[in-house]
């Protein structure tokens, strides 16, 4: 029996957008399934608002990687199904109106009566997002929601998700492989080492301002500092972290890092392309 992970402690505050990044097979989806209640940990608990969870709940909406829409229902039918699951005694008109609101929110007005088979991948994922938002959950759990989409659609949907989550103040936990996506969307990026037996190596506080425009936020001076830090981790540290940290690793107080500006260097003939970045260790909470 392999240990997927052991002694994993993670906390989130309301309104936070947290991304988890790690290599395939490190256990990110297992973490998400446990948070959702679809999987039960061998030991330990998930505590939401001071109470331990007892299985899947309408408070924790899940957006699956493969959208998981019901193919025999229309777009409206799929979202309405979620709405009527949450509010069992609502009349049909109220359910439809509420569902329509969220279909409009994700930009699918006019496609309500289409079946999932008639939709593109991006549209299907939008329906999944509308369905999750429509039940007004405490936390949204997203399992690589955009990985199956092409780059252009991915960009559009990231913008939509960011806009919606900022408007509603939604708490989100998202798994992703895409470093740029994590930096664009998240307030905090959690770095997970390689499995089996993965640990949370670091929590990277996103230093970029909350107002982010796709057109120029990669030009922000701290963008590449953050990006490089995460990629450095993925390239080498994800493998070697546990050995290096050894006894000093405290699972309950994972190091929080806030990437800073690169060290100023004097240009020399052998200037390397990578500058060491100064990362400030934020006091562990």
């Amino acid at each position: 029996m392999t240990t997927v992970f052991d002694n994993l402690w993670l906390s989130m505050t309301r309104g936070e957008f947290v991304c988890v990044i790690g290599h395939s097979g490190c256990g990110k989806t297992t973490v998400l399934n446990i948070l959702a209640g679809l999987d039960v940990p061998s030991s330990g608990a998930v505590i939401v608002d001071g109470k331990a969870i007892e299985g899947p709940s309408l408070d924790r909406a899940v957006i699956f990687q493969s959208h998981a829409l019901l193919p025999w229902r229309t777009v409206l039918g799929n979202v309405a199904y979620a709405v009527s699951s949450k509010w069992r005694d609502w009349p049909t008109m109220q359910v439809t109106a509420h569902a329509q609101k969220f279909i409009d929110l994700v930009g699918l007005t006019g496609a309500e009566h289409k079946r999932p088979a008639e939709l593109s991948g991006g549209m299907k994922q939008r329906v999944g997002i509308a369905r999750a938002l429509s039940i007004e959950p405490k936390i949204m759990l997203m399992d690589e929601p955009f990985s199956a989409l092409d780059a252009l659609t991915r960009g559009t949907l990231q913008d939509e998700v960011r806009r919606i989550c900022q408007e509603t103040g939604q708490t989100v936990f998202m798994i992703t492989h895409d470093v740029d996506e994590a930096i664009y969307l998240a307030d905090k990026v959690v770095l997970m080492t390689n499995g089996p037996g993965a640990v949370l190596a670091e929590i990277v506080e996103n230093p970029l301002p909350r107002v982010r425009a796709r057109t120029d936020f990669h030009k922000h001076p701290l963008y590449y500092a953050t990006r490089n830090h995460i990629i450095d981790f993925l390239v080498s540290r994800s493998r070697t972290f546990i050995q290096e940290a050894g006894r000093t690793y405290d699972a309950r107080h994972v190091v929080v890092v806030r990437p800073g500006l690169p060290e100023p260097t004097i240009a020399t003939a052998q200037e390397s392309s990578t500058r060491p970045t100064r990362s400030q260790q934020v006091a562990a909470s």
Binding site: A36, G37, L38, G55, P56, S57, L58, R60, A61, V62, F64, S66, A68, L70, P71, W72, Y81, A82, S85, K86, R115, A117, I135
Partner: protein
């Protein structure tokens, strides 16, 4: 020249095959000419088979004439031994529907139970495997002995034989519902009954209806066999009765009618299957 559509070309081949078959049939059964002279009394007794060398097997012209006769007056009733084809078919179809609908009403819920519960699946499996291969005619004596009424026995035999394809297909369809849809139901806190009706049933419906389509075919086969055995009314009884009357033309006519009605029943179920099939 525009290429003919596949359906058009297939129709041409079908018609050609049919005409070739009719021609071969006609050539095989037409008279070979007058045979040797024989006693006139004996000739009258033996009929055209002995005197003109005509085959005892009717030709397509005879069957065609008989078919037309039956189609002209399908619903005549001259007494218990002489009813029109339409009336006989009506008896058979009513019996099939009663037995079939009873079978579906029992098979689908049990299939659901088997599909959703691995315990019940394993527990019921030996019974299903033993009862499934039993021929309908083997059930007849038991049915007649206990139920005593021949019509109800026929219906019971249809019921017991058309249960299995629907039940097995329902169990398979229910067990094969995609896990991600069940996870959606879990995260939306959908209750067991609501989940069964709103997620499992629509997801398994195409498989269930495929099972029902197989079942209707079996039910139609069974009714003809059961009615031959039990007698009274029905298209199966008609076949057997005409065989006893040595009216082969009527037998062939009845066979044709049985085939066509069987095809129509299958067509109806196929249309129903298409209604519930969803593209993924």
């Amino acid at each position: 020249m525009k290429a003919a559509s596949l359906t058009g070309r297939a129709a041409v081949v079908s018609i050609a095959l049919f005409l070739a078959f009719i021609l071969a049939w006609h050539l095989a059964t037409r008279g070979a000419g007058p045979t040797q002279a024989m006693d006139p009394e004996y000739a009258k007794l033996m009929g055209v088979t002995a005197t003109q060398g005509k085959s005892a097997m009717p030709g397509p012209a005879d069957v065609g004439a008989k078919l037309w006769f039956h189609l002209k007056r399908p619903f005549y009733d001259n007494g218990p031994n002489d009813k029109g084809v339409g009336i006989q078919l009506a008896y058979s179809i009513v019996r099939v529907f009663i037995g079939y609908l009873l079978a579906v009403a029992v098979a689908v819920p049990i299939g659901f139970l088997i599909g959703m519960s691995p315990l019940m699946s394993k527990a019921l499996d030996p019974f299903i495997q033993v009862l499934k291969p039993i021929s309908p005619l083997a059930w007849m004596p038991l049915a007649l002995y206990t139920i005593k009424d021949s019509s109800l026995s026929a219906i019971f035999v249809i019921f017991i034989c058309s249960l299995w394809p629907t039940m097995i297909n329902t169990a398979f369809g229910v067990a094969a519902v995609r896990r991600e849809w069940l996870n959606v139901a879990k995260t939306l806190e959908v209750g067991t009954l609501r989940r069964a009706f709103t997620i499992i049933l629509p997801a398994a419906a195409p498989t269930i209806l495929t099972g029902m389509r197989i079942s209707i075919g079996i039910a139609w086969l069974v009714i003809v066999a059961a009615e031959m055995l039990v007698g009274g009314t029905g298209i199966g009884y008609f076949v057997w009765n005409e065989w006893n009357n040595l009216s082969i033309t009527n037998v062939i006519t009845a066979i044709l009618v049985i085939g066509i009605v069987g095809m129509l029943l299958d067509l109806i179920l196929a249309r129903l299957t298409r209604l519930v099939t969803f593209p993924e």
